[in-house]
Amino acid sequence: MPPSSPAEELTVLRPSRGWLDLNLREVWRYRELVYFLTWRDIKVRYKQTFLGAAWAIIQPFFTMVVFTLFFGRLAKVPSDNVPYPIFSYAALLPWQLFSKALSQAGRSLVSSRSIITKVYFPRLIIPLATLFGGLVDFFIAFVVLLGMMAYYHVALLPRIWTLLPFLLLALATALGVGLWLSALNVLYRDVGYTLPFLTQFWMFITPIAYSSTLVPPKWRLVYALNPMAGVVDGFRWALLGTPTGPGPSLWVSTAVAVLVLISGLYFFRRMERQFADRV
C-alpha cells in the first residue's frame, strides 16, 4: 500500500514482462519503512548480548590487532610510513561495512520470507535497510579511529571531507553486489554457501593488510576493477595522507561500482516478481 498515493489512484496489476523500470519513486514513498526496518535491525542486533554496541568496535579493533601483530610486526609489510595499526584500521572500517552489507544483504530476502509472502512493498527496501543498519556500526567504529589518530598524533587533513564520496562509493558497491546476491539467493541457495568464501577472497584482493603501492604500476588499472580497492585507497589518502590519491584507478573503480549498482538494481527488479513464489 503506497502510503502517500492519492486515494483514487488506479493501480493495474498484470503480469510483467521483460525488463521493468526501476520504480524508484515507489521506494521513495516507502522511505519510512526503510527507516523502521533499519531501526529494527539496529535495535535487535545487540539485544540480549552482554557487550551490546561494543561489538561494533570489537570486530574491526581485534582484526586490526591481529593484522598489526602478524603483518605489521612479523611480516613487516610496509605501511606507507603510517603506523601500521592505524594504517590497517582505516582500511578495515570501509571493509567491515562492505563485508557485513554483503553477507547480511545477501541473506536478507530469505530471512524476511515471512514478510515477503504476506505484505507488499518494494522489495528493494529490505537489502537497503540492512545496508543502512551497517552504517551505524561504521560510525561507532569511526569514533575509535579518531581516538587512534589522536593517540598516534596523526593530524586531520583538510581533505577529510572527501571521505564522504569514498563512503558513497563503498555503499554503492555494497548495495550493487548485495542486490545481485540477495536476488540470486532467493532462486539458488548456493549463494548462501558462497558468501563466506566470497568475502574472504574479496578481502585478499583489497589492500587492507597491505598497501596498493605494492601492486606493480602496469597492473594498477586491473587491480582497480575491484571498487573496494578504490575505496580503501581513498580512505587512507583522505585520512592519513598516503600517496594513493585519486587518479585513473579511481575512475575505473567508480565506473565498475556504478555498473554493478545499476545492473544489480535491474536484475533485482526483474527477479522481484518471483520472490514471493520462490523464497
Partner: protein, 421 residues
Amino acid sequence: MFALRVHDLGKRYTLGAQINAYDTLRDVLAARLSLRHKPPAAANGDDAMHIWALRHVSFDVPQGSVLGIIGKNGAGKSTLLKILSRVTEPTEGYAEIRGRVGSLLEVGTGFHPELTGRENIYLNGAILGMRREEIDRKFDEIVDFAEIGRFLDTPVKRYSSGMYVRLAFAVAAHLEPEILVVDEVLAVGDAAFQRKCLGRMSDVAQGGRTVLFVSHNMSAILNLTREAIVLDKGRIAFRGPTPEAVDHYLSATMTRSGERVWQPEEVPAAAVPFRPLALRVKDARGRVTDAVRSVDPVAIEVEYALDAPIQGLRVGIYLLSTRGEYVFTSFDTDEQETFRRWETRPAGRYVSRCTIPADLLNAGRYLVSVNASVYNVKRYFQEDNAAAFTVDATGAPGSHWAEPRPGLVRPRLDWEIEHEA
C-alpha cells in the same frame, strides 16, 4: 463505481518451485542440459510441472461493498488475495484497483519477539503501510483495543499468545485503506476478542470502505457480507447473495447423507476400545433417510462396539445448522438415572438412539456430529458432520404462508388470542 475489477485472472505455479522449497544451481543446470521432453499438457492447462491455482477469474466489486470469498482449502482464495494485495503477480489477466489496498493476510506480520509492544506497533504499522504520523495519531486507540495496558513496554516474546494476537490484530484493525483485504485472521483469539474484531470489521465496512473477506466461519461471512463468491479449484463456482453462496458451498462440500458407516480402518487408534460402527438418521417409519418432515419425529442412532468396558462413557450428538450454529448437544446418559444404570458399560455391541420430537426443527439442512467421551477424562471418538439431513417444513406451523421463517426451530406453540369487545 467499481473499487476493484478483476478480469480473467490466472496464476500458475511451477510445482518444482513450490514443493522443493528452492533449487540449487546444479538442479537447474542438470535440467537445462538433459534434453527431456516435457509431458503433454492436460486439457485444463495443468501438466506435471505446473498447476493453475487460479484461472479465468473475473468479477468486480463496487465501492463501499463487502464481498465474501469462500471455498475449500486449495480453492485459490489465498492466491487471489495475494495477487490483489500485490504480494505476487498474476500469470495472466489483470486486476484494476482504485485506491490503496491494505491486506491482512496474517496477523503480526513482521512482529519481532525481542522488541516491546510499543516498538512492534510502529514496526508492524510501517510494514502494513501506515505512516509514522498516522501511527502516532492512532497509538492510544491501538493500545486500548489490544488491552495490553502495562505490558506495553515488555518484549512481545514474554506475551501470552492471546496478548500477542490481540496486539497484532489491533494494529491491523487500525489500517484505513480504501480497500481492505482480510484472510482468515479472525480464527485467532478468544471468543470475546473475536466478537470485538468482527465489530471492528463491520465498522470499517460501514465507513464506506470496500472489504474482501475470506473466512471459513460461515456465520462471520453471513454477518459481514451480503454478497459472496464461491471458489472451487481456482475458478468461480458461484456468485450471489451470501446465504445462497453459503448454501452452494456447503452442499458442494458436504455430500454427507443420512447414514455414516465406519470401516475398521477409518477409526483412529486413539478411539480404542471404542469402535464406532454407524450413525443413522431415521424417519418416523424407521427408514434411513436424509430428508424428513418437520411435522414428524426423527430418530438418530449411534451404533458402536466396546472391545473393553469403559467407566462413565457417554455417547452423544451435536446438531448443527449448515451455517455452523449449534442447535443442541445431547448425550445418551444426560438423565442421572440412565447415567447411574450405565456407570460402567461392559464390552459388547450397542445402539444409542434418541428421537428429535416432531414440530421442533425449522426447514433447512442439519449436520450431525458424533462424540463418545468420558467427562473430564478422555474423548474417545469425535467426528464432525458425520451425517446430514434436510428438514422439509410442509405442514409446519405457519406454512400456509409461503414465507421463509427465520430461526433454527419452528415449534408448534400454544397460542391464545384474547379478545375484548
